[in-house]
């Protein structure tokens, strides 16, 4: 009914967090993953880039889900824009769906993103451990 609103809200938060992290990283020494940089600097993917991955996943998913809701007539072009919000019984059902399916969607996307982040961090660490041996 309106389950996409939960990941969309998380997408807004992560977008803001990514922008804040990017502005903080501007002056720092953390560099992007580049082979030539790996020899002299830290092989580390910046937090802002990792947060952008999460926000891309969340925006993409919630955008297409919003389209699905539009297809099924659950989003309407007049106030309150959600057909379920017009009467209390449907609104209660909508809130229940948001708290179950919506939260699960946001949680699954976040867990998958955490997995991707963990794997890339591990690979980056292995690469930085391997670099000095290559140089020697």
């Amino acid at each position: 009914m309106a389950c996409f609103l939960v990941p969309a809200a998380e997408a807004v938060i992560t977008t803001v967090a990514a922008k804040a992290a990017r502005s903080r990283e501007k002056g720092s020494e953390i560099r992007d993953v580049l082979p030539e940089d790996a020899a002299c600097g830290a092989v580390k993917i910046p937090l802002s880039r990792r947060l952008t991955w999460l926000s891309n996943l969340l925006w993409g998913g919630s955008g297409l889900l919003a389209f699905e809701h539009l297809w099924h007539g659950e989003i309407v072009p007049w106030f309150p824009f959600l057909s379920a919000a017009s009467n209390p019984a449907d609104a209660a059902e909508m809130l229940h769906e948001m708290s179950t399916a919506g939260v699960s969607m946001a949680a699954l996307v976040t867990v998958v993103w955490m997995g991707v982040t963990a794997v890339t961090s591990l690979k980056g660490r292995r690469l930085s451990a391997f670099r000095p041996k290559l140089k020697a």
Partner: protein, 125 residues
């Protein structure tokens, strides 16, 4: 069907992205994020649907399947439109800018001028 369509779209986009990686001139990576995000969310939706009606989940009516397939294809088309808009706005090749303002010609002229200067400098150090 919607979930399956989104998953196939995500896999195809990821393969295309991987073939050209690390270069991503066409910004196919954006499409991967969009379709994988949608696939994960529709997967959760499918799990909840299965928990509600386990017997009907694997035996859908043909009309419902067709409708879901249309929905999946339409969602893929929406994703492609979003990607196209982002591609044209970001314009990594500078093609839109060149087509609108003729900047490529100016840039090419500038490049040729620079090369001519280099040759002149080599000839007369």
């Amino acid at each position: 069907m919607t979930l399956l369509t989104a998953v196939f779209a995500a896999i195809i986009c990821t393969v295309i992205w991987y073939r050209n990686a690390p270069e991503d001139e066409m910004k196919v990576g954006i499409l991967c994020w969009i379709y994988w995000g949608a696939s994960l969310m529709w997967f959760v939706d499918a799990v909840f649907e299965y928990m509600e009606l386990p017997s009907e989940f694997f035996n859908p009516a043909p009309a419902d399947m067709l409708n879901d397939f249309f929905l999946g294809l339409s969602a893929v088309a929406v994703g492609l439109i979003v990607w196209l808009i982002i591609l044209l706005i970001k314009d990594p090749k500078g093609a839109v800018k060149a087509a609108l303002f003729g900047k490529k010609e100016q840039a090419d002229q500038g490049l040729q001028g620079g090369k001519r200067n280099e040759e002149r400098n080599k000839a007369n150090p």
